[in-house]
């Protein structure tokens, strides 16, 4: 919280988003009370992340900040000052996680997504997990994804997709 009060007097915040450095003026581009999720979606058009519960309970707004998965609805935009953000728009089309979620269809496990509303959150949580641990066990996958809700219930397909993404990373020589 100390960080918030120290930044609240700033006139500008600098945020790197998907590799591009942006500067925003407090009071015009964003209000001190603007949440990061709303700022990214409404003002900047990064609509891949979803605001579903808006209180840190569902994981749909997950993005990666300085390498860690964070819930963007639980952060103020000003708290991202000086941070490096990765949203789902910043992932390449051949990202192994995106590919694995898109391809999932093997018998007995269903698909890794249905309505797709939770999917960007699961993809980003998975991306952060595999950055830290490229070859997780099924139990580690389940633990890491336990903060994300999927009401269509594709958990089995999602877990399989994460394991397949891991296999892709290994096949590509450990490079994501």
């Amino acid at each position: 919280m100390a960080e918030i009060s120290s930044t609240s007097s700033l006139q500008k915040v600098a945020i790197r988003i998907n590799g591009v450095l942006h500067e925003f003026k407090v009071g015009t581009d964003l209000e001190p009370s603007t949440t990061l999720s709303v700022f990214l979606r409404e003002r900047l058009g990064f609509t891949g992340l979803k605001v579903s519960c808006d209180e840190g309970a569902c994981g749909a707004c997950t993005i990666i900040m300085d390498g860690k998965a964070v819930l963007s609805c639980m952060l103020l935009a000003m708290e991202a000052d000086g941070k490096d953000l990765l949203t789902i728009e910043g992932l390449p089309k051949d990202d192994p996680v995106i590919e694995a979620f898109a391809e999932q269809c093997e018998p007995g496990h269903g698909t890794a997504l249905q309505c797709g509303y939770c999917t960007p959150g699961f993809v980003m949580t998975t991306r952060a997990l595999l950055n830290e641990n490229p070859t997780p066990t099924l139990d580690e996958v389940r633990e890491a994804l336990s903060g994300n809700l999927c009401r269509c219930g594709c958990y089995d397909g999602i877990a399989m997709a994460v394991l397949h993404a891991s296999e892709k990373i290994v096949l590509r020589g450990g490079q994501a």
């Binding site: 609509t47 979803k50 519960c53 209180e55 898109a102 391809e103 007995g108 269903g110 633990e143 994300n148």
Partner: protein, 783 residues
């Protein structure tokens, strides 16, 4: 056990295991949803609307002063119950139709129950939209403005218990509809006693065994992650509504009729929807109307989006069921009596569908061999959140007692419940034993290890000092497999073929996650087999826009998976005929001597590829649109079953589901990966409904306490057991494919399967869900 199902008829595309057609755009976060496309960036000048929600379970606004709210900077329009345009709105109901058809105000399904007043001064539950809606520059300003309203409330007595609500001294919730809180009989649902076959008194007196039982089904909510959202924008006298309605044609009809606008002056657009599950019934919801009126008043586009709290907007309708069954010692059920009391909450909407319509259908579709049946139901207003459709209408509630009856009667008769079910149930047109019923039960029994694991109630081994395991099942007829065809009206599909052999498919339906879009593309490729088209050559139009002039096929009854594909078979035939008519003069041979195979048109001594033919022409795309009523045939119905294995910790009361086997007889599997995803996925809702999900009220103030995803406990990945999906093709429906919808039915049987497994584990029955640790410990006499 990842055994792929075996198709009855192998086809080129239909029935395959493959990725969804929208999987990549969804995995990339590119798939557009209503909330995404209605962002402030896309609509400069966008205003945000909030509506006053009643803080009391029953109250009336007696005085309202909006001056302070109006003076707040950023507030642009205030609409209240005192405004002429609000007063003019007709009383309504949120379930005009069950969405199989588009319905006018006059034709609405539950015309006797028009108990909703849009933005009226009367609130019937704590959370009801009431009295005032405000549009402002931001959601925060609108919310703040609501707090500046000066309101005098007449706080009225309320009632939460349906049994108390039926008493003469209970407060009357909607006096314009009923003085007793019990909905009067209506033409659609029929009288209070809506099934009365044979003579139940005689049946019971002649029975060897008579059993009685009660169950209670509670109020889980749909929990779609994509909150309701709509944007209204006027251009002169024309209104556009962009929303996550799953029934845009009905949305247009609803708005047109309520605001008295010509149909062509309303345009409704829907993109992808993040989960529907029956929420808000057919979406004939007041918020479309006050959002449109705020947009008119402010002259700016206005967006209304539910907060997560607001998204607790309706629930599966709770019901108390009583059942009395009479049987002979040989296991023949002779007599059944069901009586239900539905807690319909604050508004009637579709309640009677759940309480009367669905059980009446089941009595014909599955209980036909039983000579004496009486079914009776009372739909009762309370000041709870309204009950509604939720992945099925009435099936889960009925199955919860139906599966109990099978389990308990079998125990009394010392029979296997599987044998009992197969012996007694069947369709009025079919044979007994029913092949589909037999197949789902025998397959489930084999897959769960029924003979090895099933023991006498509570008689299994004690594990780790305190735990006991058990198995149970429940079974249900997929009754609307035969019924939905009757009222669908015409289903439309349009295929456009381009000169290079690629295709656009207009099979309008709002993709809510069911995977019907993939079914449709597979169906289109299958139907265009003569062109050698592959699914990759087909673009499916994902936006439903009423300006396209086609009616969308609504995602209800889980039926879109095959309805549009059936029409595409006929569209493809017509397209082929058109191609042959084009080819005939080009080849100098009459069309009847030509045929098309793998994109090649051949006749006696001559041949040309379709592509060459089209490139030589005027390059106008070849388009065929056909409207066609679904095929009708006396097919009987397929069956659904869930088998559960559970472990109950008798020390803590915790029930853990170890395994679920979900068996659906599909007729024809249209898209295997999608069907299995529905089977597996439905269990999240089912396990939540059975064990953890429940809306809790403050009993003193009548206020719901857990309208959030922390205290309303939906299962996470860690809560889910291994689910084995089993797809069967035993029954056959009408048409080319003979398929049926399965999405709703994947979870109908699971709560009862779990409850029966819990009984098998601990030897004591818990007949009110959710089966919480407290209820288990109470049942065991531990607390």
């Amino acid at each position: 056990m990842n055994t792929p199902y075996k198709p009855r008829i192998p086809r080129r595309f239909i029935g395959g295991y493959q990725p969804r057609i929208d999987a990549l755009e969804k995995a990339q976060g590119r798939a557009p949803y209503a909330d995404d496309v209605t962002s402030e960036r896309n609509y400069p000048g966008l205003l945000h609307a909030r509506v006053l929600r009643s803080p009391y379970p029953r109250a009336r606004i007696t005085h309202l002063d909006t001056s302070k709210a109006a003076a707040l900077p950023g507030v642009k329009a205030i609409l209240t119950f005192q405004d002429a345009e609000v007063k003019r709105l007709k009383p309504t109901n949120a379930g005009w139709t069950d969405a199989v058809d588009t319905v006018s105000y006059e034709g609405m399904m539950w015309g006797k129950f028009r108990d909703r007043k849009v933005l009226g001064d009367y609130a019937a539950w704590a959370g009801d939209e009431v009295g005032v809606a405000i549009a402002a520059e931001s959601e925060q300003i609108a919310e703040q403005a609501l707090k500046l309203l000066e309101i005098d409330w007449d706080i009225l007595p309320y009632v939460m218990d349906p049994l108390k609500s039926m008493q003469p001294d209970a407060p009357v919730i909607h006096p314009e509809i009923t003085q007793t809180n019990i909905l009067p009989p209506d033409p659609r649902g029929g009288p209070d006693i809506f099934v009365n076959k044979g003579d139940i008194e005689r049946g019971f007196s002649e029975a060897d065994v008579v059993l009685e039982m009660d169950t209670g089904h509670h109020n889980p909510t749909q929990g779609s992650l994509d909150p309701w959202c709509c944007l209204a924008q006027w251009e002169e006298d024309r209104l556009t509504i962009v929303s996550n309605s799953y029934a845009p044609d009905q949305t247009r009809m609803h708005v047109s009729q309520m605001l008295e606008l010509p149909i062509h002056k309303v345009r409704a657009i829907s993109k992808y929807v993040g989960g529907q599950f029956g929420r808000a019934d057919t979406g004939d919801q007041p918020f479309f109307l006050f959002t449109a009126l705020l947009a008119k008043k402010s002259g700016r586009p206005v967006k209304f989006k539910h907060t997560r709290r607001d998204s607790f907007h309706d629930t599966r309708q709770p019901a108390l069921y009583h059942c009395k069954v009479g049987a002979l010692t040989d296991g023949t059920i002779t007599t059944l009596q069901f009586k239900s009391i539905g807690d319909i909450g604050a508004y009637a909407d579709h309640s009677v569908f759940a309480l009367k319509f669905a059980p009446a259908e089941i009595s014909e579709a599955a209980l036909a061999p039983i000579p004496n049946i009486k079914m009776e139901s009372y739909a009762v207003y309370t000041n709870h959140i309204p009950g509604c459709m939720m992945r099925g209408v009435g099936n889960s509630q009925f199955n919860f007692i139906f599966g109990r009856m099978i389990d308990a009667l079998a125990e009394r008769l010392e029979m296997d419940p599987i044998t009992l079910a197969i012996k007694n149930f069947g369709h009025e047109w079919g044979s007994c034993p029913d092949p589909s019923l037999k197949a789902v039960l025998e397959t489930g029994a084999e897959r769960i290890g029924w003979n090895e694991k099933r023991h006498k109630p509570g008689a299994g081994p004690l594990i780790e000092d305190t735990k006991r395991q058990g198995v149970g099942f429940s079974v249900h007829p997929g009754w609307h497999a035969e019924w939905q065809e009757e009222r669908r009206g015409q289903v439309q599909a349009k295929i456009t073929l381009y000169p290079d052999g690629t295709v656009t498919l207009d099979a309008p339906t709002v993709e809510t996650g069911t995977g019907s879009n993939t079914c449709n593309v597979l169906g289109c490729a299958e139907a265009l087999g003569f062109l050698g088209v592959s699914p990759e050559d087909i673009t499916w139009v994902s936006t439903v826009d009423t300006d396209q002039g086609m009616r969308d096929c609504v995602q209800t009854d889980s039926a879109v998976s095959f309805l549009q594909s059936e029409v595409m078979v006929v569209v493809a035939q017509e397209l082929k005929r058109k191609l042959l008519d084009l080819a005939a003069p080009a080849l100098g041979i009459t069309a009847d001597q030509l045929d098309i195979n793998e994109g090649q048109i051949t006749g006696p001594g001559k041949s040309i590829s379709v592509k060459d033919l089209l490139w030589k022409g005027d390059l106008v795309p070849l388009s065929v649109m056909i409207s066609r009523a679904p095929a009708k045939q006396r097919t009987g119905v397929p069956y659904i079953a869930s088998f559960a294995e559970v472990e109950v910790d008798t020390a803590t009361g915790r029930t853990q589901v170890l395994k679920l086997i979900i068996i659906n007889d599909c007729g024809t599997v249209m898209y295997a990966s999608g069907a299995e995803a529905q089977q597996i996925g439905g269990q999240v809702m089912a396990i939540g409904e059975a064990l953890t999900e429940e809306i809790i009220y403050d009993p003193i103030r009548g206020i719901p306490l857990n309208f959030n995803f922390i205290d309303y406990k939906m299962p996470t990945i860690l809560d889910m057991p291994k689910v084995e999906p089993v797809l069967l093709e035993v029954w056959r429906g009408a048409g080319e494919y003979g398929a049926c919808g399965i999405g709703e039915g994947t979870l109908t049987c699971t709560p009862r399967a779990i409850a029966n497994a819990v009984y098998n584990a601990i030897g004591t029955r818990i007949d009110e869900i959710p089966i919480t640790p407290e209820k288990v410990l109470q049942a065991l006499g531990r607390i």
